[in-house]
């Protein structure tokens, strides 16, 4: 600006802030400090790691891959034909052995591998508005290509996710005694009460020429279709488990469980794997040694680093802030390197 106003400034305000003199602490990375930090981290991490690992180890888990085993011998070469043939009986029986005592509740999961629920085309293909309430029924724009039937009426629930719902079913028995599977409360309450409307009923679902996955009972509102709700919580990883139900009795060691599987879901066309998982739980969740191992490893490494630094410090001590290290106090020939 031309006008001289800016040059006739007043005397500056004197405050710690304006003078950049706010009281400050200036920690430096002194050996004592750093070594203590690493040692401390190591000492904290190892017990936490042990606890996590212990918790994870206490979880009893039975995993059974059944996608290949459930295809009859003679159809192994063409599994796709098997799964797409609606006349073939898809029932298959598996025997599972309980390795250790499993305390109730025992969670039943199905696990899919190489299934991209996080694919962009897939993950976007849903309409939260439609799921939430009846008013949003016609809000199916985002659901393409599973938005409307060929005659133009809306599909509820629309979209690829709902359309491809997992539909294998499992029945459990021990010594011919049927084990009850509780399929209530497997979805999140927040979903049941807020995301899926109690006045929204399935409509025109799976009525197209291609049938994707499971069908829905059109007389039950979406908020009670817990399998759908669970399925609609898309997984972020191509290998994932979803809750199927709960067994609410303890399973004794070495008991043999008979599982009757209705193997309906097509993972054969893309080489996906299906597994049935029975698992107890702990404070850390399901069986997952990763956290424990990572904590132990890093805790160990920290101690190692601390020890190394101590060694370096003892072998090659270096006094901090020695001015003779300053290059302008040093031999200028040092430049010639």
């Amino acid at each position: 600006m031309w006008f001289p106003v800016s040059l006739n400034l007043k005397k500056p305000v004197n405050s710690k802030f304006t003078q950049q003199e706010l009281p400050a602490c200036k920690p430096i990375l002194s050996p004592g400090w750093v070594i203590t930090t690493f040692a401390f981290i190591g000492l904290i991490f190892i017990p936490v790691g042990l606890a996590s690992l212990f918790a994870s180890q206490r979880v009893v888990e039975i995993v059974d891959r059944y996608d290949v085993a459930c295809v009859p011998e003679h159809l192994q070469d063409d599994k796709l034909a098997y799964i797409q043939n609606s006349t073939v009986d898809k029932t298959c029986t598996r025997k599972l052995k309980v390795p250790r005592l499993m305390r109730s509740p025992i969670f039943i999961y199905y696990e899919l591998e190489n299934f991209y629920q996080n694919h962009r085309r897939y993950v976007k293909s849903r309409s939260d508005k439609q799921l939430r309430s009846r008013e949003g029924e016609s809000d199916t724009e985002s659901c393409s290509p599973e938005a409307k039937t060929s005659n133009g009426s809306v599909i509820v629930p629309c979209g690829l996710i709902a359309w491809s719902m997992f539909n294998d079913t499992y029945g459990f028995s021990i010594n011919s005694k049927v084990l009850d599977v509780n399929k209530k409360d497997i979805a999140w309450n927040s979903d049941k009460y807020h995301k899926f409307g109690s006045d929204v009923y399935p409509k025109n679902f799976q009525s197209g020429p291609f049938i994707g996955g499971g069908k829905l009972n059109s007389s039950i509102p979406l908020s009670e279709q817990e399998d759908l709700i669970v399925w609609m919580r898309t997984a972020a990883l191509p290998t994932f488990r979803k809750l199927y139900g709960k067994i609410e009795v303890d399973l004794e060691p070495n008991e043999e469980i008979m599982v009757t599987i209705h193997n309906n879901y097509n993972t054969y066309s893309f080489g996906g794997k299906k597994r049935l998982v029975l698992s107890t739980t702990s404070w850390i969740g399901g069986k997952n040694d990763f956290l424990g191992m990572a904590y132990l490893t890093f805790g160990g490494l920290s101690l190692l680093i601390a020890a190394t630094f101590i060694l370096i410090h003892l072998i090659r001590p270096r006094s901090l802030g020695d001015p003779s290290y300053l290059s302008w106090n040093k031999n200028p020939a040092g430049y010639s390197n």
Binding site: W2, F3, L7, K11, P12, Q19, Q20, L22, P23, A24, K26, I28, L29, S30, V34, S52, Y116, N118, R120, R121, W163, W188, S190, H194, K195, G213, R233, A235, A236, L237, P238, T239, F240, R241, S269, F270, W283, G285, G286, F290, L291, A294, Y295, S302, I312, L320, G321, D322, P323, S324, Y325, S327, N329, K330, N331, P332, A333, G334, S336, N337
Partner: protein, 1104 residues
């Protein structure tokens, strides 16, 4: 190219010129939006973000809600638009105030009061005492009988003294009633911005029969924004109005300066952009392949067998959008913000507050503080910059007699006082020239005391000294000069004044002695402008000796001379002078030629010597800054010996045994060339010797060198740390700056006067000293300071901190953007390379402009070293100069860190949230909070000093992250409803967070510690020393002092440019501690390396 102004011509239809409405506004209400948007979009980065935002409107390819880009974009745009709007509104207000001011104007022969904006060219404007001049006027009449008036031009050129303005001779003696009816025509040049020139003519119409062409000069004008002082009234005709006035023409928006840091940031952004393109192409390609192979088999994705034509583009474009966050959208706005804080810190700095002048330092340009820390060359003016420009008459030599040599003060020299009392003719003539050969205006206060208003400090000193010696200049009454000598009044009639120009380097007056009618030419000027014109018979040897002697003691000399003219000679010359005076083209040059015809055969009277004190702390300042590796060049209009003397006294150059001065001189091309080559040779050898070498060049040789031997001179400039250029013109100063800039040195020009303005504007950083020569330099400068010594603080404290802070802030901005982008890219590998975004729109939007922007802003408070340490070890500035903290290799470090951190966050997240926990929203929040935790610790690790504010920003931000996400988690319709509560309740979530922080920071921490302790940079060493307090300040002093004595301790002594590359690290100590310890005792001895050693070093560098 002329304009004709018809005085008092009321027929407005003739009026082709604009009215007096001033408008500084950039916008109007109507064009604000389009114009501002257009301006903002002319920036490349904004175009890029607009393109991204538009692409996001295509739902098929957008990975997230378009709001995630539009939001920040609109936010950033509205911030800068409202800033512009506010500035423009203030301009509008000040315009309005000026436009609506009421002024008296003659309309139809009657004086009327109208608004200033309605003045038209040709109107006669009346002003009263203390009125502001509303437009450029040609003075027609004043209340003073002599036809003069006084104006204060401070707003125009910053000079606070009163200036005399006279009415043109044609109008002299007109009664004020006649002024209402006066008619005439003024022939004047088209509007320009030269406030020192107005080459025009006036011709009055009958009945004001002076049919002569009357020449006009700047002295006949009243320029807009000046104030009328000490004059009851004045009137003038409007010549230039509105935005066409001299003031209006010199307004204008200066070219924005780009700092080296900004240039580097732009370069890095370009590099990131290229990287992004590569990523997009690779991933797009891979994505299309996956789609055609795997994707077709994944029935639930329902890929159509035959897609639309643009299908191949969809996945690359999706990745482009996904990766667009790689370029931090917030970086420019954060930088603008912190830069304005740096500027404020400069304004606020109490230690740079000039107690004498009651004026604080001021950063007019808020955008270039970082450059201060990277200065390599300082080009300084001498007078008023290094010195106080407080001139005191100290000695004189009158006709061979030296006065004041013993006492150091001629005014107290009894001999001189005696001679004055005894009316020794030489002395009297000498004193007469001293007192009236000038443009000084004496003013008498009511109490009878006489004070002088002088435009030049030298003249002021001379007139005051003459007054002390009983030759009192009492009054300037029109053309009559009254002098009181030994209590008797002497009158002179001023016939002509031959003004001073920097080319002529002298000024003269032609006066008629009223007692005897003799016509006298009185001259004063630089020795080389006076002595060659001495009359043939006179012996000038003694005068040049005197000049030499005075100059060697650092005094400014002026030679005084006179000549009696005979009547005929004068009349003849006077005609030529008048003619030259009324030319419109090249008037200055023609005048000089005419003056030359009179100024010869002078009788030299004597030499005056004026002392100009060095400013406080100048030697210390120069020493400190030179230790910081900054090279100093002194550019002065003064003569060589004075310049060298001043240079010696302010540590600019070392005295003989240690320093060596190499002269470049010569009048012809050959001589200059020979001299240049000789100096260059010496200089090359000298780089290997423990010697400070400086070259001295004068304006004439410089002109030749710059014109014909630019390469040689450039090489010389590269080699020389110090140079003294004397007798240089303003444009040569600017040329030298240009030369250094062309070698990619960061230059800082500092000066105080109007003759420094061009150099100040030319340099990367212009610093003006708001001194006695007015505010012109200060106003043109990027920084204005009160005293030269504030420069140390400006550079070492403000410049250095600004550079460090910006270096961290900008690289951190890249780091955090790359971090989140790398996570997205990693995620795409497990989502079928389909371009799914792991993070939701809200998170992405808030991440860049919120979660990660706030903590880092507190880096404006960060100080790696205390101010005291930096002042004690100015060498540390080398890190900033060489750009060690922000360059491609440090950026590579940050790039690597973000890649590492992205992998840590991603891998830990997907492993600990595997299987039944792999729910999309949860996993995305885990990854996001991992990023936020890491960034909090990164900022913590990189912060050197923690104030309460920093803790608040870093940890408060972390808390705010949880608070915000918990609030969003309470909204049922939000995608992440309940997610945050769920996560916070899981022990495994917290365990995961700690794991991410530990694994992410552990190696960084260990590495930093290792480098800090075992590969310490000089900064680290000083930090350690600062912490342990004790040894450094005790031990340190001795080696520093001894190295000073050797004078070769500076790390950058004549270092070739190549070694200044930012990656090259000679400052780091490489030797083992034991070796260093051994050498400690011998430090000083080892300076005396055999010269061959160092010679080979410099040769090595050249080979690089």
């Amino acid at each position: 190219m002329k304009r004709f102004v018809y005085i008092n011509d009321n027929e407005a239809s003739h009026d082709p010129y604009c009215d007096n409405r001033i408008s500084n506004r950039k916008y109007t209400i109507l064009n604000f939006l389009p114009k501002n948007l257009w301006e903002q979009f002319s920036r490349l980065m904004n175009q890029y973000f607009l393109l991204i935002a538009c692409l996001q409107l295509w739902p098929l390819i957008t990975p997230v809600n378009p709001a995630s880009t539009w939001g920040p974009l609109i936010f950033i745009f509205s911030v800068s638009a409202s800033k512009e709007a506010w500035d423009d509104y203030n301009r509008y207000l000040s315009d309005k105030q000026a436009n609506e001011k009421e002024v008296w104007v003659v309309r139809d022969g009657i004086r009327k009061r109208i608004q200033a904006q309605d003045i038209h060219v040709g109107n006669i404007v009346w002003l009263r005492e203390n009125d502001e001049v509303p437009c450029d006027l040609l003075l027609l009449g004043t209340s003073e009988p002599q036809g003069i008036c006084f104006v204060e031009t401070a707003a125009l050129d910053g000079e606070t003294d009163l200036k005399t303005r006279v009415i043109p001779t044609a109008c002299a003696g007109l009664a004020s009633e006649l002024l209402y009816k006066i008619k005439g025509v003024i022939e004047c040049p088209n509007p320009d911005k030269d406030i020192r020139r107005f080459d025009a003519n006036l011709r009055l119409f009958p009945p004001f029969i002076d049919n002569d062409l009357c020449p006009l000069t700047i002295n006949n004008t009243l320029l807009q924004s000046c104030y009328l002082r000490n004059t009851e009234w004045a009137c003038g005709v409007a010549v230039y109005t509105g935005n066409e006035t001299k003031l209006g023409m010199s307004r204008g928006i200066p070219e924005p300066k780009l700092t080296a840091v900004d240039a580097m940031i732009d370069k890095l952004i370009g590099a990131i952009f290229l990287f992004q393109i590569v990523v997009v192409i690779v991933l797009g390609f891979a994505g299309n392949i996956w789609k055609d192979t795997e994707g077709q088999q994944q029935w639930y994705v329902m890929y159509p067998v035959e897609g639309p034509w643009y299908e191949l583009l969809v996945i690359p474009l999706r990745f482009e959008l996904l990766c667009s966050i790689m370029i931090p959208i917030s970086i420019k706005i954060s930088l603008d913000l912190v830069k304005s804080v740096y500027a404020k810190f400069i304004d606020w700095d109490e230690e740079m507050y000039d107690q004498d002048a009651q004026c604080p330092s001021h950063a007019a340009n808020t955008a270039i503080s970082e450059d201060l820390g990277q200065v390599e060359y300082i080009l300084t003016d001498k007078t008023g910059t290094l010195t106080e420009n407080k001139m005191i008459f100290r000695r004189c030599c009158i006709n061979g007699t030296f006065y004041g040599n013993n006492s150091g003060d001629a005014l107290k020299d009894g001999e001189l006082l005696n001679d004055v009392v005894n009316n020794v003719p030489d002395v009297v003539r000498f004193l007469t020239v001293m007192s009236i050969c000038n443009s000084v205006v004496p003013t008498k206060s009511p109490s009878g005391e006489i004070s002088y208003k002088a435009q030049s400090q030298d003249e002021d000193a001379l007139v005051n000294a003459a007054a002390h010696l009983h030759m009192v200049f009492v009054n300037r009454n029109g053309n009559v000069l009254e002098v009181n000598f030994n209590a008797s009044a002497v009158r002179y009639e001023l016939l002509d004044a031959l003004e001073f120009t920097s080319d002529r380097k002298r000024m003269s007056v032609v006066v008629r002695d009223c007692q005897n009618g003799n016509i006298l030419l009185l001259s004063k000027g630089a020795d080389e402008a006076i002595l060659p014109f001495a009359s043939n018979g006179q012996q000038i040897r003694s005068f040049s000796d005197a000049v030499e002697q005075y100059a060697q003691s650092g005094l400014r000399t002026l030679c005084l001379a006179w000549r009696e003219l005979n009547e005929d000679e004068y009349t003849e010359w006077s005609l030529m002078f008048k003619e030259a005076n009324s030319t419109l083209v090249d008037r200055e040059w023609k005048l000089a030629e005419v003056c030359q015809r009179l100024e010869h055969d002078l009788e030299i009277l004597g030499v005056t010597a004026i002392e100009d004190h060095l400013q406080d702390g100048v030697p210390e300042t120069i020493e400190t800054l030179r230790k910081a590796g900054i090279n100093f060049w002194m550019l002065t209009g003064d003569k060589q010996s004075t310049a060298i003397q001043i240079a010696l006294s302010c540590n600019f150059i070392a005295p003989e045994p240690k320093g060596q001065l190499l002269l470049i001189n010569g009048r012809t091309e050959d001589e200059v060339l020979r001299s240049l080559e000789r100096v260059l040779l010496t200089m090359r050898i000298a780089t290997s010797e423990p010697k400070e070498v400086a070259f001295v060049v004068d304006g004439w040789a410089l002109e030749i060198a710059l014109r014909h031997y630019k390469e040689i001179f450039t090489e010389l400039a590269d080699l020389s740390r110090t140079a003294i250029c004397c007798r240089v013109t303003p444009s040569q100063k600017a040329q030298l700056v240009e030369l250094l800039k062309s070698r990619e040195y960061r230059t800082l020009a500092i000066g105080d006067g109007g003759n420094d303005v061009r150099m100040i504007q030319q340099a990367d950083i212009g610093v003006g000293i708001s001194g006695r020569e007015g505010l012109q330099a200060a106003r043109a400068a990027d920084y204005s300071i009160g005293k030269f010594r504030f420069l140390t603080r400006l550079i070492l404290v403000h410049g250095r901190y600004s550079y460090n802070r910006t270096a961290f802030l900008s690289q951190y901005s890249f780091y955090k953007s790359l971090l989140i982008c790398f996570i997205q890219i990693l995620f795409s590998f497990i989502s079928g390379i389909s371009g799914t975004s792991l993070f939701n729109s809200v998170s992405l939007m808030a991440y860049n402009i919120f979660y990660t922007s706030i903590p880092v802003l507190t880096s404006v408070l960060d100080k790696d070293l205390s101010e005291k340490t930096v002042m004690q070890h100015p060498q540390i500035l080398f890190y900033c100069q060489a750009g060690r903290l922000l360059n491609p290799s440090t950026f590579a470090g940050w790039f690597g860190r973000s890649l590492f951190h992205a992998s840590v966050v991603f891998l830990i997240t997907i492993h600990s949230y595997a299987n039944e926990k792999s729910e999309m929203e949860e996993l995305s929040m885990v990854a996001l909070s991992g990023c936020i935790w890491l960034q909090a610790f990164v900022v913590t690790l990189e912060t050197n000093s923690f104030t309460a504010l920093q803790h608040l920003a870093i940890w408060g931000n972390l808390a705010a992250f949880y608070a915000i996400n918990c609030i969003i988690s309470m909204i049922p319709s939000a995608g992440m409803y309940t997610i945050m509560f769920r996560l916070c309740g899981q022990p495994s979530y917290w365990i995961t967070m700690f794991l991410i922080v530990a694994i992410g920071m552990g190696p960084v921490f260990a590495l930093k510690y290792f480098r800090f302790t075992y590969r310490s940079s000089a900064i680290n060493i000083l930090q350690q020393a600062e912490h342990s307090r004790a040894p450094i300040f005790r031990d340190f002093e001795s080696p520093v002092e001894s190295s000073e004595k050797d004078g070769i301790s500076l790390p950058s002594t004549a270092q070739p440019k190549s070694s200044r590359s930012p990656v090259y690290e000679p400052l780091l100590s490489e030797s083992t501690p034991n070796a260093a310890r051994k050498s400690r005792g011998q430090t000083t001895i080892e300076f005396f390396q055999p010269p061959q050693n160092r010679l080979s070093y410099s040769r090595n560098c050249k080979n690089n």
